[in-house]
């Protein structure tokens, strides 16, 4: 399946103005097709998170073009075809783990029972079934990060964007979490883009895009299937 999920041309994002301007992403050109596994690697501050946020439609580019040919307009990306697993703590504090995971489905308008069943199934994948009823403050950072991943795959998205998804996990747990993520993505045919420092995660991906000082470099600078 070669549906183009994301197409970007000279994508640029600059923060601030004049002398205080920071060039987070500069003239990135790429496409992401359905089912792709892409690792986005680079040092801290290279623009990986900003690029992911723009792909998710959460940040507007300063210049260049960005479209989602197979997914629709920016307004219809979330909840639904595009999900994001954030780097930092991103569970809503007043909701339990299962409620957090079910939230994207509820925001889509799914029935409560259906949403919670899917959420529990997702938690099972990430070995979190026994903390489903706990609050975010009652679980560890690693469990919270895995819950974020569960939330990212619960709705069978078409594109999963994960920003340092294993930063708070030990090596073994990180490995199992990534396997669960990729298995879930395979089941739904979703593309996965993972920003990571972890080489072991990077090698599991089909492609490795390197970012450096906002510029997309690496094995291929113009990326396609």
């Amino acid at each position: 399946m070669d549906d183009v999920l994301v197409r970007a041309e000279d994508l640029t994002r600059v923060y601030g103005t004049r002398t205080a301007a920071v060039r987070a992403v500069f003239r990135a050109t790429f496409t992401i097709e359905a089912g792709r596994r892409i690792a986005l690697i680079g040092p801290s501050g290279s623009g990986k998170s900003t690029l992911l946020l723009m792909i998710a439609g959460l940040e507007r580019p300063t210049a260049g073009t960005l479209s989602w040919p197979a997914l629709g307009e920016a307004d219809s990306l979330r909840p639904g075809p595009v999900t994001v697993a954030f780097q930092g703590p991103s569970l809503l504090p007043p909701l339990s783990v299962v409620e957090n995971v079910a939230l994207p489905l509820l925001l889509e308008g799914r029935e409560q029972g259906v949403a919670f069943d899917a959420a529990r199934a997702a938690l099972d994948l990430f070995e979190l079934a026994d903390v489903a009823g706990k609050l975010p403050e009652e679980i560890s950072g690693g469990q919270a990060q895995r819950a974020g991943l569960a939330r990212a795959i619960v709705g069978e998205p078409r594109l999963v964007l994960a920003d340092e998804p294993t930063g708070q996990l030990d090596h073994e747990t990180a490995g199992r979490a990534v396997v669960a993520l990729l298995d879930a993505a395979d089941a739904s045919g979703a593309a996965v883009v993972v920003a990571t420092h972890d080489a072991e995660i990077a090698v599991r991906m089909d492609a490795r895009w390197r970012m450096d000082a906002g510029e997309l470099r690496g094995t291929v600078s113009r990326c396609s299937a």
Partner: protein, 899 residues
Amino acid sequence: MADGRGGAEGHGVPLLGLSWIVALARRRPGRLAGLTLAVAMAVLLTASLGAFFTASRARMTNDAIASVPVDWQIQLRPGTDVAHATRVVASADGVARTMAVLYGDTTGFRAGAASTGVRTTGPGVVLGLPSNYASAFPGEIRPLIGARDGVLLAQQTAANLGATVGSEISIGRRGLPRASVTVDGIVDLPAADSLFQSIGAPPGSAPTAPPDNVVLVAAARFAELFPEGTPGVTTQLHVELARDLPADPGAAFVDVTGRARNLEAALSGTVLIGDNIGARLSAARSDAVYAQLLFLFLGIPGVIVAALLASVVAAAGRDRRRREQALLRLRGAAPRLIVALAAAEALAVGVAGVLLGLAGAAVVGRIAFGTARFGVTNAQALVWLAVSVVVGVGLAALTIVGPAISDAHALTVGAARADIGRPRRPLWSRLYLDVVLLGAGALVYAQAARSGYQVVLAPEGVPTISVSTFTLLAPALLWGGAALLAWRLGSLVLERGRLILEPLARPVAGRLAGVVSASMSRQRRSLSRATVLMAVTASFAVAIAVFNTTYAAQAEVDAQLTNGADVSATTTTLTGLPEGTARRATALPGVTSVAAMQHRFAYVGNDLQDLYGIDPSTIGATTPMSDAFFGNGDVAGTLATLATHPDGVLVSEETVHDFQLHEGDTVRLRLEFASDGRYHVVPFLFVGVAREFPTAPRDSFIVANAAYVARQTGTGSVQTLLVRTDAPPPVVAERIRRLLGPASGATVQDIETQRRVTLSSLTAIDLHGLTRLELAFALATAVACSGLVLAIGIGERRRSYAIASALGARTRQLSSFVWTEAAFVIVVGVALGALTGWGIAQVLVKILTGVFDPPPGSLSVPWGYLAAVLGAIAAAAAIAGSAAIRSVRRPQPEVLRDL
């Protein structure tokens, strides 16, 4: 921000504090401004109360001394040198005028002839007055008919003797033959109670009624009637003091009583001083103290509400302060330095808030009370200023320095205690403090109800009002208990009430109702706090609005009762209004209805009571009457009963008790007949109890059908005209004066004038300015609470909303969280607050029943004002919520980068 190196301790701290404040002003102006405003609100109300008391106390003093007919009545003991005593008194400090008045006891008066019938009275008194006494002490003598000097007969005595101008009466003198005098005029003695008081009676002894039979003569004539050595003659010096007394009633009381004691000492115990002005000032002093308690009670909750708002504003900035403190500690700042910087911030906010609040209070005081002073005396002004400063600076210190002290010693600053989750029940809840306070309040209230709250009134004597500070604990305890109970109930509903919350949230949240209600349940600590704050604010607004409105309504009823109608014209029982007056008055412009009323006297047993003859079928159209006026609580029913029983009569509860009356009993009254001027028995049928009646005195009185009274007594003369107007009452009153003419001897009074002079001492406080201040403050705090609490709550959950938005939540879905929480806080808070406020108002009105005359049958509710408050609360919530939703519907980049 400033570098917090430890080396800045010691003399560098003040400089560091100053630069810290400057940096905050530049980088966090909103935080400083918000807290300064909240502190200013608390200071403004505190200082405004001082301005109110300045105005009210001065007015109380003026009103008290204005109503005293004779300031001092100095009774000379037998054998005292009158001239010497007069000289000493006249030269005493502050004495403006001194006059000697002679009191001669008589065995009685007699009038009439054998052919027409002789009437005699019981023992009476003859007063010998100096020639210019009436002009010197105008409150003592009110001329009715005839001459203003010579031999003057008191109105009641004239009625008893059937005498009038030109009548010859004889005076029974002890040890001397009877003396005859010719009556030159008839007068009323409005201050007979104090004029004939027993000077020097032991404290607590029952006051004595003034004599019913009094004749006034010139001093020279008195000397002829009662030559020196006649037994039963006493001399009093009547004194008027200079009106340069202190404005504060307490200070004026001390001044006056001090002077009285000095005088007694100067006269070596040869005199007894009846300190009438001291008695009035004592009552005013007590009233001023208790008015202060009452209005502090109404005001302190306002200060507490402002303090709570300030704490909410301060808490909103706590996380940022913690981060700032963490950065300082990372750079080596000691906890002591961090606390010092917090203290500097608190001082800056406190000083700014105090200055702003005092400026506002000066403006408010000038507008509302006519004065910008915060106290009657300089000392009081300083006290109020000091209190205001303490409130302002203390509030800032509590809300800024307190948390800084506890945070400075925390091990990890990042461990912000979440307001979410499964909190442990607070100590007060585990101890059931809400139940304890409510129970204690109920006990105090029950005790107050049992012991009663009375205006102790001498049978025609000097009123004293006693107010128990203990009873004022009841509303305070009930208020505190109700606030805690609201907290418990709110928390309970949020914790256990998801089955209720979820369906209630569904109309707003749709399929998100489950997670919305779950979210609310886990944030119950902060939501309960917000709900309680809303409830306290709402209860404050409702309580003071209902109390003030009820007070104003009763003041109007009191004035109506005293005056009888919009305009009233009264004359003596002896004369009566000219025939046809009612008909002619009806034709005057501005008059909508007229009711003529008889005012006679009737003996019930040996007790002489006022009797009012009315037309029960028409009087209601002219004079407003309340159900509370009658024993069965039904004015229409009582008047209808009287109308259907021509010989029906309404009497007081005291008369019913004294004579063991039951409805349907025959009551035999003695009324004066026109044919012979003597009292004869007339049978009446007891049909009901009258507690109050327009123009009737507080003592027992009788109400009967005018037609029956006229038929039985042979005269239908009316003594009172009640007039309802649709024009300004003073204007119509003037028209009626012209109609009656000066020769009628009638007194015409309008309700607007009466309203200013009728009220009891405590309720004579002009609440208008304070009412405006408190109602405006209540409205402002309700709006601030609603908008502020919502805005701060949303701000605290900004990150959650950003995450939800990043997950794809639409504006409507984000709104469901916001509006459901807002609806809970406002609906539950306002409902509980309204209930509490109504209950507190009820308690306050009950506790102070004794100073309402008559007591209110029900509370008067200012629906318009309360609707305005509710509308303002809803509007503030809508504005704050909409603004907050707009700010979070697109996830902020800085929040996303933190994820």
